[in-house]
Symmetry: C2
Subunit: 528 residues, 2 copies
């Protein structure tokens, strides 16, 4: 696999145009070879047309064939893992063990979707048999299943160069559903994106997929990305990134002559509520685990716990002392890009200057070399200050957290009510705490996609029951998840067949159930 700095269009390459832009090593600030050429509006047009043409065939591929494609991508990713990880390390400063873990996660995810579509229960096949004798009108035979939407555009994120990037969860779930994918890679890992793009391109060729089920167009989000979202042949968008970026895509998609869904995951501050019983029993452990969660991966996770609510008794004091010590002992780390680091520093500055907020830890950093070095920060305030300053709910992307001391149960509840939509909300409590705080649980359930009990929100399990999505502004609308098998539901719609000849039905709906699926037949779930 040779890096050429060129976009991938179907089975081929885009010709260079304009001036190249290099990838940057965030640890040193050094430019990496080669330079990257941005795609042009003509490339957008071609990628969209190829994808739409490919959809006419790929959208009807049997699940077995789509599964083989997903597995081939995973296999080739593993074949080239060393090359991909080496480049990713240069571009993101993420340590090799993390990149090895993320490789396993990414390939596991591709294979999970392969198994999912082979098992087929996900497609929600339903059959209501006819009743010609029903009065006053005969009942027709009605059958339905989930069918793919059409070409999807995927914007990859900076912080997971594999798992939420070119062959990450959005791409895997869209391809699993039967949707061609056009990726707009993140500029933080250009070479990694090209390498993984070549893997997907090769897998598509190996599986005789129609040209256009995959393209990858380098360029700035605000022009190439926007042009993709506005293209009439594009039918869905997946995005992981900033709130401003996600909202711009949502607005553009909603303003199209034909609006399309945007699944934007825009981050979150992931509040943690430490209830009295738990704090009494485990103040020290909670403090050290919280520090680990806040500073994991230099705090560069959308599930980073950026906000912690405690009471103000002695256990809370113990907790705060332990947390302060642990945060102060955290070594600084290199962030993914110098831009992200600058934005982290400005967030820390803003909190530091907010009256009523104390910065109790601010680990010093070395502003030399690539200038992407970030130190941990810990802030403490009281509930009155928190309630009076909505700016304290802004995400500070990096190894920082804000502890809010509440003087009463009702103050903690009021703070919970004030929160915006979140990816997660965490409660530490004894069984008695959980029972006594039903009101708090009710408020948090209305605010978040995932409620974590006695744990921490970082580390998002890839499984069937996962929800990685929450009410706006955590995600575009909270009705979906970008992690776990439910992610495939973002790229489908229900299609119904009434009184169709059996031979003309998709295999999933044929009377004999040739795929041996779990289906809903006459209102009863079962394998028939």
């Amino acid at each position: 696999m040779k890096l050429e700095g060129l976009s991938l269009l179907g089975h081929g390459r885009v010709q260079p145009a304009g001036k190249p832009t290099p990838a940057i090593n965030p640890a040193t600030g050094a430019a990496l070879e080669p330079g990257y050429f941005w795609a042009t509006p003509k490339d957008v047009e071609q990628a969209a047309r190829l994808a739409a043409r490919a959809f006419a065939e790929y959208g009807h591929w049997p699940a077995k064939r789509r599964a083989a494609l997903l597995r081939r991508i995973a296999d080739l990713f593993e074949t080239h893992a060393a090359t991909i990880q080496e480049r990713a390390h240069q571009e993101t400063a993420l340590p090799p063990p993390r990149l090895q873990g993320e490789t396993a996660r990414t390939c596991g995810q591709l294979r999970l979707f392969a198994t999912l579509i082979e098992e087929g229960w996900w497609c929600d096949a339903r059959i209501d048999h006819a009743d010609p004798n029903r009065k006053p009108m005969p009942k027709p035979d009605v059958r339905s299943l989930r069918a793919p939407l059409g070409p999807a555009v995927v914007f990859s994120s900076s912080n997971f160069p594999f798992a939420f990037s070119v062959a990450g969860g959005d791409t895997a779930s869209a391809l699993a559903a039967g949707c061609p994918v056009i990726v707009k890679p993140h500029q933080g890992h250009l070479g990694t994106s090209e390498l993984v793009g070549l893997v997907v391109q090769q897998a598509a060729r190996d599986c005789n997929a129609p040209e256009g089920i995959f393209s990858l167009l380098f360029g700035p989000g605000r022009d190439i990305g926007m042009a993709l979202v506005k293209h009439p042949l594009v039918k869905a968008v997946g995005f992981t990134g900033s709130r401003a970026g996600g909202r711009a895509l949502m607005d553009a998609a909603a303003a199209r002559p034909e609006p399309i869904p945007v699944y934007a995951e825009m981050g979150s501050i992931n509040p943690v509520f430490l209830l009295p019983g738990a704090l009494q029993q485990n103040a020290g452990t909670i403090a050290s685990s919280l520090q680990a969660s806040v500073t994991l991966g230099v705090g560069q996770f959308c599930t980073n716990p950026g906000l912690v609510f405690v009471g103000n008794g002695p256990a809370a004091q113990t907790f705060l002392q332990r947390l302060e010590a642990a945060m102060a002992a955290t070594p600084p780390g290199i962030m993914l890009t110098a831009d992200l680091c600058a934005s982290y520093r400005s967030g820390v500055d803003k909190f530091s200057k907010t009256p009523g907020v104390r910065r109790v830890v601010g680990v010093q950093t070395d502003a030399g070399a690539g200038q992407a070095q970030a130190g941990a920060a810990l802030f403490v305030t009281d509930a009155e200050t928190f309630l009076a300053n909505p700016g304290l709910m802004d995400e500070v992307f990096g190894p920082s957290t804000l502890v809010v001391q509440c003087s009463s149960r009702s103050q903690m509840l009021a703070a919970a009510r004030q929160l915006e939509g979140q990816l997660t909300a965490t409660i530490h409590g004894t069984p008695e705490d959980f029972t006594a705080r039903r009101d708090l649980l009710g408020v948090l359930q209305a605010k978040a996609g995932r409620l974590v009990g006695n744990g921490f929100p970082t580390g998002v399990e890839v499984c069937h029951a996962m929800t990685h999505g929450g009410p706006y502004p955590a995600t575009a609308d909270g009705r979906s998840t970008s992690v776990g098998t439910r992610a495939i539901e973002r790229f489908v719609r229900p299609v119904c067949f009434q009184d169709f000849p059996d031979a003309a039905l998709p295999d999933e709906l044929k009377e004999s159930n040739p795929l041996n699926l779990w289906r809903l037949v006459d209102g009863k779930p079962g394998q028939r």
Copy 2:
């Protein structure tokens, strides 16, 4: 039940403000008593606050209690059916047998959702058990289910005064999901809406529901309706009506600080493709059944087949002659409102004046009395004219259809490709026709929510497998249905619980499966 012309706010009434507007009998043009007072912005505020407060309780009601509420609404509707039907007949000119049928459908729908939520499989409960020994990281216990979004606003339609109105499918599915409902009734049946609103209000009181799970605010869509859609406490919108109306709501909802989903069903022209084998065998039967479908209920259905594609051989000629005779023999009927009728006439005029389009039937009407009398219309054109005039894809809401003669198979395919998103597409064909036209089926599957074989699209079965929704502009985005049990999915989002104490979980997710639900446990569907 006494008509007062006043909106319903929670358990009470809104005070009169401004000048009253009467309902109109479309058959005579006469005003009906009483006059109706429009709600004010203050009423919108109060209804939204009451709904949000009610949601905190109602959103956690067990399914059994919500089911009892739905059944109570159905029972009370039946108790008062004669009164409701009499008023609906005066306001809509729909004949008594139709209104009796629609009563049965509406009550059946409420009871179907009651059964659905009691059975509980719909809520997609998923459990992935923990594995503390997994390497490199322990696996958490993750569980999820579908949880209600919050207060929903429902805009009722003109053409189904019961089934798509105050206690219709949107209200039934939102209440079933656990969402309070605020109805913005259609101005075409004000008294009917008040009567049905009183039924729902009484049922809510009888079931001790928290005040605010139901309100009903009279007023124009462009101010009261818009104010509801823009209210920050409202979390979802259901709508059935015109494309302009639906799109205005979509745009307003997308522009909110917190965008919310709008489920707008905006109608369709429901193309019918008559393939050669079927036409050869059944030209006469197809013609008479098509006439029945086009003119049913004076053509006032969003599934009305407004566009028919045929070849140009002798069988097509026979079909056209039979259809012409049947359409010409259709007596005129009274439409729902004089406005709808005026818009029908202007649609018919537009088609009549399009060069290359022949109006072969135009049943005369009597422009006296309420001026809502409409006669059947039949137009014929060729594929070249159709392809050159996108205006011929505009919906003409009423008893009219356009037959397009295609000179080749590829011309029929080109016409199919030109179509916008549709609620339905219909194919008449022999098994051989279906096999030979896989290409056409593929195109239609990408365009429509429901494909009908050898039948007609009017008559939407309320069942589990139904999809009444299609790609934009048929509906807001085609990922949902407003008819059938899948309609409940519009008002929910997945909520996930990680490592939660069993006692703090919703019953649907408790380890012992106390509700005996079908759940997905460790990736396997089953009743455990």
